[in-house]
Symmetry: C2
């Protein structure tokens, strides 16, 4: 049996069950620097049960569609934001729970995302560009990772 999922464009509405979309849609919250810079303020729900926020860099190998999804994971103790350090779209995968059909989103240039604490998601899957991301997630002691393996992979298609 082949199970397929089609990607959909990433919007705040469709992504709301899983996290935040960070982009410059709409009016900025504030103009700063004498009107030369627009600030879109505090757009991610950073949420850590313990530890603290930290900034790490991830350099991920590029993947391609169709993509066989055999693993999702979650971080029970904290949110996790992926900020692309390039304008290439990337693939975002999330699931309400391991038994639900995962959803696959394609970002637009200039979009970052923040998975809410405990959200099931696929690992970082850039499709083009440098594969370089800044990640804002929990820094602290102890394990903060649960994995779920699919016996039958989901095939994600454009």
């Amino acid at each position: 049996m082949t199970r397929t999922i089609k990607t959909q464009p990433l919007t705040p509405t469709v992504f709301a069950p899983f996290g935040d979309v960070l982009d410059c849609a709409g009016e900025p919250d504030k103009m700063i620097n004498r009107g030369l810079c627009a600030r879109y303020h505090d757009r991610a729900a950073l949420d850590f049960t313990d530890g603290r926020a930290g900034i790490s860099l991830f350099k991920a190998q590029l993947r391609a569609l169709p993509f066989a999804l055999d693993l999702i994971e979650r971080h029970p103790n904290g949110s996790q934001a992926f900020i692309p350090m390039g304008l290439d779209p990337f693939l975002v995968i999330a699931a309400e729970n391991p038994d639900a059909t995962p959803q696959a989103f394609l970002t637009d240039a200039g979009q970052a995302i923040n998975f809410h604490k405990g959200t099931w998601h696929g690992v970082l899957t850039p499709l083009s560009g440098s594969g370089l991301f800044a990640v804002v997630d929990r820094v602290g002691p102890g394990a903060n990772l649960e994995e779920h393996h699919f016996k039958t992979p989901w095939i994600i298609q454009a």
Copy 2:
């Protein structure tokens, strides 16, 4: 009187008095996702006297060299990280104090920076690209900005 400053390449060593350089130089701290992703862990000293870390987006107008620097600022209550959401180099300006000669750095593709709490710095000055940055800084009540105006601007040259 014209006062000029030449830009220098951004490296962790020259930037150490002012903050952190975040890039993928050297060995990663950890390979994750079955070896498909390198994690450079916790590379910024996030430091807030109160409030909390937040992620905002800044969309800044492009500037050009030579650049007339007539203003520096600092945030006494928190660090501030600038993460470019593109691979274009940007200009980073910092000063030990308002009476010291400012220093100007040009980033390389894939570098982000974090100004330590209270560091005097120039406003965000992208020179090319989209002008889009993710900013990790303090979210909290009250003013967190001091400005210093130079009577005679510094001229920053390539």
